[in-house]
Every structure is written in C-alpha cells, then in structure tokens.
C-alpha cells in the first residue's frame, strides 16, 4: 500500500540523533505457564549500538551492536558474543536497530513487508525472506507505531513470542553519559 499525505509514516532518525525510551518486554516461552516480564530503559545510538538496561526483575545491561552482544550483571560481564565469530550476529543488530527505529528500508532487505497504515497508526508485518540466514530462525515480526515505534511482536516459532512495548520514546540529540559512551564505544 502506498503512503499518502494523510497517512502517518515512521519517523526516521537523522544523523546525530539518538532514541531514548522505556520498554516492557513480555516473553512467552513454550512450556512456561506465565510470561517472563522485564522492564527498563533503552538508548539506541544508530550505527553504534543499542543499550538495553533492564531494571526489573533484576538489574542487568545488554549492549547489542555490530560487534556482537555483551551482557553485564552488577558491573560484571557475564556473557560476550562476538559478531566476528558468529555468522549473522552483526546483521541481526542491523535488523534490531531498524525495527526499533522504524527504518523500513533496511528491514526490506531481509523481510517481505506487509503494511497496514491509517491516519493514526502504522503496522508492519515482516516475514523473513528465506535466503537470509540471520533472520531465518524468526517466524515473523510485527512492528506497530504512531510517529515512533510503539510495540514489536517477535514470533520466534515453536510457541516462543516476545512482546515489546515502548513507552516515552523520544528522539534526542546525541548526548551520552560517560557510562553509555563506554558501553557503545566510539567506533561506528
């Protein structure tokens, strides 16, 4: 469907802008009677990384970037996955960044996109193009938003679904705290 002037479109980040907000992640896993809920805040620094700061049920920070994934609990690194060693990990970050920031151009490279758009809300239903290995594990992705992304549903297949809700998201100029800078690094 073609966007018209009356229809709302996802607002893309301009160079030098970052996205901050809060998240609630409800994770439905096969065999688990109740959802695993985590809450916290996030910062997306385009090209540099996504800082996922979980506050509840316990504090931990996950940084996802083109270089890989680093998980820290209580200031101690508990896991490090290097994109240099895991095929598709770098690309996976590109997709996450694109999904959180509503960058459809990047998403279209790996997914077939079905759009539903009206004056107040847009919705993208993404199904992986079979050839792309980095997302072939996913069943589908559903991104909804107004001006910015509001929710993402990730269906990982086999009864595993992540439902992400973003609150108070705001586009801001690039200002990072010392800690954040050290988390995402300065490297593009």
């Amino acid at each position: 469907m073609r966007a018209t002037a009356a229809e709302i479109t996802p607002q893309a980040l301009l160079p030098g802008q970052i996205l901050r907000g809060h998240f609630v992640q409800d994770r439905q896993l096969a065999g688990f009677p109740k959802q695993l809920r985590s809450e916290g805040s996030f910062v997306l620094v385009p090209g540099r990384g996504l800082i996922w700061r979980s506050e509840a049920p316990f504090k931990n920070i996950t940084v996802i970037s083109r270089r890989g994934i680093v998980q820290t609990v209580g200031g101690k690194e508990t896991m490090r996955l290097s994109a240099a060693r895991i095929p598709g990990l770098g690309q996976l970050y590109d997709i996450m960044e694109a999904a959180v920031s509503g960058d459809t151009t990047t998403l279209e490279q790996a997914f077939t996109i079905q759009r539903t758009i009206d004056a107040h809300q847009w919705q993208l239903l993404l199904t992986p193009k079979s050839a792309d290995v980095s997302v072939s594990q996913l069943k589908s992705l559903s991104v909804k938003g107004g001006r910015l992304v509001d929710t993402i549903d990730v269906d990982k297949g086999g009864g595993d679904v992540d439902h992400l809700t973003f609150l108070n998201s705001a586009i801001e100029p690039l200002t990072l705290s010392e800690e954040e800078r050290s988390l995402v690094g300065s490297q593009k």
């Binding site: 096969a30 695993l36 996950t62 994934i69 896991m79 060693r85 095929p87 996450m96 990982k156």
Partner: protein, 773 residues
C-alpha cells in the same frame, strides 16, 4: 682383442635401451621434494611416519588473500577466483564461504551429548562452586533482549551451558572477521577475503606444480577481469617448490649451456677433431642410459636430485675417455688397441677406486644418496665398458696430427714437482696451502640451517609474511605431537596440556593453539563435567531457578546419553580443523596440537614435554638437525672411503708408496673446506658431499700420475689437466648457482679439483725411485 665382445656390448646396450623406452612409455615418476632425499630417522619409525604425514598435509595447504578496496567486490572476486580452483579437481577442499548454518549444525550434532560439555570458564566456575554466576547469566539471558532464550532449549538445557560451550570453541585465524559468510580482514583501506585450500596431490610433484601454477594464473585472470583492481597474496609450500624448480631449471639451462659449450670448445681446441667428442659423448650417453634404466629397475622411481647428481658423477667417465684420447699425442701408441692397452691399468684402478668411493654412499642411510650411488656406479660401468669395448672398434681412423705444444706445457707441471730448481716454488705452494689451511681452520663454520640450505624466493617470503601479519597465523612449522594408547588417552593428555598452553599463551610464549580436546572433552572429563553440573548447579539451584521463572515442566539434561567422541562431529565450520589435528597412523593413535605464533620455542618445548606422551616438534629445526647429522655422516663416509681405498693402493704399490699416492687426493679433500672457509664459505652437508667426490676424482688423478712413465708422462698429465678442466666446467661452474646447496657444492668442487690437479704429480713422484736403477 676378442671380436665378439663389442657385439655382446652392443646387444646389452640395445636391451637396456629397450627397457628404458618401455619404462618411459609407461610413465616415469620424478620426485622433487628435497626432503624425500632425507633418511627415515633411526630414532622412531612411528613418530617419523606421523611427522611425514603431518609435513605432507602442511605442505598441501595453500592460502590466498584476495583483496579489494571495496569489501563486496573483494568477495565477488574471491568467489570467481575460487570457482576456477574448485572446478579443476586440483583442490580437495576449499574454503571461501563459511557455511552460515555451520554453527547450528554443530549445535545439533553436539546436542545429544550436552550433559558432559562445559566450556573451560564454566567448568572452572563450577569446580570453584561458583554455580550461582552461571544461574545469573542464564537468568539474564532468559529475560534479556533477543538472544537464544527459547522454551525448547530451556527444557533441555536450563542453564544454557551448550550455547556457552559452542561459543567457546576455538576459532583459528582469529584476526579474521566473518562478513557475509566470508572470512575477511581489513588493512590500509583494502578488504581481504581468505581463500584456503588443500591440494589434492603432492605439492612436490613437478607436473602437479606446473598444473597448479597455470590454474592459479587462470583463476587470477578471471578474478581481475571480472573485478578490476583486485590484488592477491599467496602462501604455501607448493609455490616455493615450484619457484625453486623453475629457478633450478633456468640455471641448469644457463650454467649447463656454458658448461657444455666450454667443454666442447676445450676438446675441439686440444684434439682438432670431433671424433673424441663424439666418442666421449657416446660413452657418457650409454652410461646415463644404463644408470637410468638400472635405477628405475631397482627403485621404481628417480629423484630429480639423484638424476642431476648422478648425471654429473657419470660425467667423470669423460676422464677415462680423455686418458684414451690423449694417447693421440703419444708417439708409442700406434693404433687404438695400443692406446687402450697403455691406459687400461690406470683406468681400471681409477675406476675401481671411484666405484669404491661412490659405493660408500650406499652405506649412507639416505634413500636419495643410495639412488645417487646406484645411478653413478651403473653409469660409470656403462661408460667405461663403452670406452674399453667400443673405442678400439669405432676409433679405426688414424690419429689426428697434433702439435706437441700442449704436451710440452703439461710436462711443465711435472717439472714443478720434480725439478730441483723449483724446490722453493714447491715449498712456497706447500707453505701457502698450510697457511691458508691454518687461517681457514680458525674461520671454518658449519651451517645446517635448512632455511639457508633452500633458497626461498624473497617475493614469496614477503607475501607469506603479509598473510601471516594479516591473518594472525598461517601455521608455523612447530606443533605438538601427542601419542598414547587410545584416542581417550590422547584427549586426557591434551587436557593436562591445555592448562600449560593457556599459561604459555598468557605469557606470550605463543599466540594461540588448537587441539582436538578443545572440541571434544575426554570421556573422563565428560563424566567429571556431568557430576559438576549435577552436584554444583542442578542440585543447589535448579529448583529455585525454575520456580523463579515459573517453569513447572520437565527438564531433560540428557544425563543418560552416550559420551561425545571425535568421530561424532561433523567436519564443518571450525570443526574442519579436526581432520588436520588427527594424525593417527595405522594402529598408532596420535593427535597434533597446532601452535600459532610461537615466540619462545625452547620454553614451550620444556613446558609441554613435561607432560608424558607429548613431543614438541619443530619441522624446521628437526630438518636442520638432520642436515647436521648427515653432514657429519658425509665426513665419516669420506674417512671410510679413504680407508677402503688404501688397501687397493697398498696392494698395487706397497704400503709406503700406496700412502704416497693418496697424499694429493687426501690433501685436496682436507684443504678444500679450509681454504673455502678463508673466503667465508660455510661448511654444510653439501660441501661434505662434494668432498666425497673430490676424493674419488683426486684419487683418479693420482693413479693416472702413478701409472704412467717415461715419455707418456707429459701425455698423461695433459689428460689429467683436461679432466680437471672439464670437471671444473661441469661442477665448478655450479658455484655460480643461486641455489645455496648447489653453490656450496660447486665451490668445494672448484677448490678441491684445482688442488687435486695441482698436487697430482706428487703421487707420480715415486716413479722416479721405481725407475731408478
């Protein structure tokens, strides 16, 4: 002379020729690996065989880096490059693209054995009873963004230990990054793609080298045509081998040409006739024919070095022809039979002594040298047989009319050693030799470093260094060899070793290592892991962890499954390394631990060999040690062959005179390396081999000097001078070679032969006392 003998010889030559033709039609296998000339070490046949196998598989590895300023274009270029290689069949395995699904496939293969698989870090935590940290990590992942948290995985591996194990598997060439399925590295604005391949045939087969070289050229042409601006770096033993063979071929044609033209010009000048040339050629050709056929019949194949050395050794037979032809200058020799009769004693004794010299090579435990010995002994017999049986028949025309000037000149060489007036000149020569020998003795240095003995192309060395710099490793010539009674024993040994290696890595003794046990723990270790997981993780934490997550289902830790063994693993992705690490030969289990960037080999050797069953192997230094051992061996051969020659001398000339006859050749063999040392020539195995030859040839000169008398003396000396000149033209010229081994050989020959000629009249000196009334 019996008339049937030449005919019998002719039919023998015909038979041998026929045999050689049949063998040539069936295909002759030529070997060019210089190491194939080396002996099986006496120490341990099994270790040797395993090492040979590893050396062979190392030599079959080829690495290319295809570079372009644009990473995508570099990938495209690398794909078209590898496409051509893959199509050819010259490559048994090739890696450009990493199977993007490899990780998942490996995960699936390991899944049933997960209960016993722990990464080193996790294992350490559990052993220190720090299981809580693993719970924290698993919990963070279960709640964290994305990740591999899944309901199914949780039910089978609640603490996510298998993913941790998979992620800890060692990755070779760690400086490379995986981009779009290709292993890439970026440097100074150029993106390189790694293309690694394994040759399907022996890197040292010359025909295969040619084929592979043209294949790389065409693959390369395709790549630059499709993606202009592409660059390529390459490394692999085959490139060095091919370059060396090409260099040798080029030298053989240039040095060989000078040598042939020089010899031809010399003989034409002296004899003013082509007849000696033709006959001499026939004698050598028949010698080579015999040698070739005989060697093939005995060994089934011929090594290039044996062929080259052997042909040169047979070239010595020209000395015997020269003895015969110089009788043209002898007024007493009226016909061919006279000529033969007069030279026969000298030739017969000279030949038998030379055969003794060459046959001592048979005692050398070098397969290659034994080939050289057989080749030259058969060849010499063929040549001398032709001289004795055919020359009188073929040389029926009258002798050419020759001027006596050359004979007069040769007579002066006798004077040098016989004239009382030249006493001081003689003392001067002897004094100078002694002085040079004394200086040389102080400067003489042995050199056995295999890297000096082969001259490697600087251009290829540079490319290899670049690849090493860019990829972080290329696999050196060092590795650990693990031996034991069973595969499990090997794994257990490696597990003892890995702590030491990790420590060494921390201490920058080496950059990295890869071992089978990093992929597959021993069964004993898997049992330990299971109990660690059960006692220190599941028992204390599983229940609370599950209730925290609200999970009420069943957890299957696969505790009853079988144990993982190396054969259960698919050889894909990082696991393709496993085939290289398994060095089991027949019923002798053996593993290899690859070492990258070894900086302190001595320390690493001490550190690793303390673990029983572990041997630190450095192919380069092993080969260097071998060259050292066999340099000493060659010297021993020299002594042995001199010892064997003496009784023959004594039988013919008496004990005292026999010793006197040996003085010139022994002096030449002793002085040559010492005088060489004064101009900085190091003493290598190849110099030692040249000395064996100097002795054989020098003995010939002495015998010829001793066996002549009266008016024949100047004629004989002329023949000796011609022999020495032709030997220098064929061997001495090798000193011009850029191939170190050949150069060393040539230098020693040059000095040795000049000395042998210079001193030869000393052996004849005793004729005076014999002739005296």
């Amino acid at each position: 002379m019996n008339r049937t003998l030449p005919w019998l010889w002719a039919s023998l030559v015909a038979l041998v020729f026929l045999y050689a033709v049949v063998r040539a039609v069936l295909g002759i296998s030529l070997q060019s690996n210089i190491l194939a000339l080396l002996p099986q070490t006496e120490r341990d046949v099994t270790v040797q065989r395993i090492q040979d196998g590893i050396a062979k598989s190392f030599s079959r590895r080829v690495v290319f880096l295809i570079g372009h300023a644009n990473p995508t274009k570099a990938r495209i270029a690398s794909r078209s490059f590898s496409f051509v290689l893959k199509q050819s069949g010259a490559i048994s395995s090739l890696t450009t693209q990493i199977d993007p699904d490899a990780q998942r496939k490996i995960g699936a293969a390991l899944f049933p054995y997960r209960a016993g698989l722990l990464s080193n870090a996790d294992r350490t935590l559990l052993a220190e009873n720090e299981g809580e940290k693993l719970v924290t990590r698993a919990r963070a992942t279960m709640y964290g963004p994305g990740g591999f948290a899944s309901g199914t995985l949780f039910a089978n591996d609640p603490f996510l230990l298998l993913p941790a194990y998979l992620l800890a598997l060692p990755v070779p060439q760690s400086r490379l990054n995986l981009e779009d399925g290709a292993l890439m590295v970026r440097d100074r604005g150029i993106s390189y793609v790694l293309v690694s391949a394994e040759l399907s045939e022996d890197a040292y087969t010359i025909s295969f080298q040619e084929r592979f070289d043209s294949l790389v050229k065409s693959a390369w042409t395709k790549a630059i045509t499709e993606v202009p601006g592409t660059t390529m770096l390459r490394a692999g033993a085959i490139f060095y081998a091919h370059d060396g063979a090409r260099e040798a071929t080029a030298e053989i044609s240039s040095i060989g040409l000078i040598s042939i033209i020089g010899t031809l010009a010399l003989l034409l000048f002296v004899f003013r006739s082509v007849r000696p040339l033709l006959l001499g050629f026939i004698a050598i050709a028949i010698g080579i024919l015999f040698a070739f056929a005989g060697t093939l019949a005995i060994f089934g194949q011929i090594h290039v070095v044996a062929l080259l050395l052997g042909v040169s050794l047979i070239g010595i037979s020209v000395d015997y022809s020269l003895q015969y032809f110089c009788e043209y200058f002898d007024p007493d020799a009226k016909n061919p039979l006279d000529r033969l009769r007069l030279v026969l004693p000298g030739v017969a004794i000279g030949l038998s002594l030379t055969l003794v010299g060459y046959l001592t090579l048979l005692f050398a435990p070098f397969p290659g040298l034994r080939q050289v010995a057989i080749f030259s002994v058969i060849g010499l017999i063929g040549s001398v047989g032709t001289v004795c049986l055919w020359f009188p028949v073929l040389d029926m025309q009258s002798a050419p009319k020759l001027s006596g000037k050359l004979v007069d000149l040769a007579a002066k060489h006798w004077l040098l050693w016989e004239s009382p007036a030249l006493r001081y000149a003689r003392s001067g020569i002897v004094g100078l030799c002694v002085l040079l020998a004394a200086i040389g003795a102080c400067m003489l240095r042995a050199d056995d470093d295999v890297r000096h003995l082969q001259s490697l192309s600087p251009e290829l060395k540079h490319q290899e260094a670049e690849i090493r710099r860019l990829t972080g490793s290329m696999g050196g010539t060092e590795f650990l060899l693990i031996r034991g009674t069973s595969e499990q024993a090997l794994l257990e040994t490696e597990e003892k070793l890995i702590g030491r290696l990790s420590f060494a890595r921390q201490q920058h003794v080496l950059d990295d290592f890869q071992a089978v046990s990093q992929f597959v723990p021993s069964v004993a270790r898997q049992r330990e892991n299971r109990s660690l997981v059960r006692e220190n993780l599941i028992k204390p934490y599983l229940a609370s962890y599950m209730s925290e997550l609200g999970y009420a289902g069943r957890v299957d830790g696969a505790m009853t499954e079988r144990f993982l063994t190396p054969k259960d693993l698919p050889l894909i992705g990082p696991l393709s390394l496993l085939s290289l690490l398994n060095a089991t030969s027949g019923s002798h289990p053996a593993h290899v631990v690859l070492l990258d960037g070894v900086k302190q080999p001595g320390r690493l050797r001490t550190l690793t060999e303390q673990v029983p069953g572990v041997r630190f192997v450095d192919l380069t230094s092993d080969w260097s040690n071998l060259f050292g051992t066999y340099r000493r061996y060659a010297l021993l051969l020299l002594v042995v062959s001199a010892g064997l020659m003496y009784p023959i001398h004594a039988w013919r000339y008496g004990w005292r005179d026999g010793a006197m006859v040996m003085v010139p050749s022994l002096s030449a063999a002793t002085l040559a390396p010492l005088i060489g040392a004064t101009v900085g020539i190091e003493f290598t195995f190849f110099n030692a081999m040249a000395l064996v030859l100097v002795l054989s040839i020098g003995v010939d000169y002495s015998i010829f000097s001793r066996e002549t008398s009266g008016v024949r003396k100047p004629v004989t000396m002329l023949a000796i001078a011609l022999a020495a000149l032709s030997t220098i033209l064929s061997f001495g010229l090798l000193a011009l070679s850029r191939v170190f081994a050949v150069h060393a050989f040539g230098m020693t020959m040059l000095i040795g032969i000049v000395l042998a000629f210079l001193l030869a009249p000393i052996a004849g000196g005793t004729t005076r006392s014999r002739a005296a009334p």
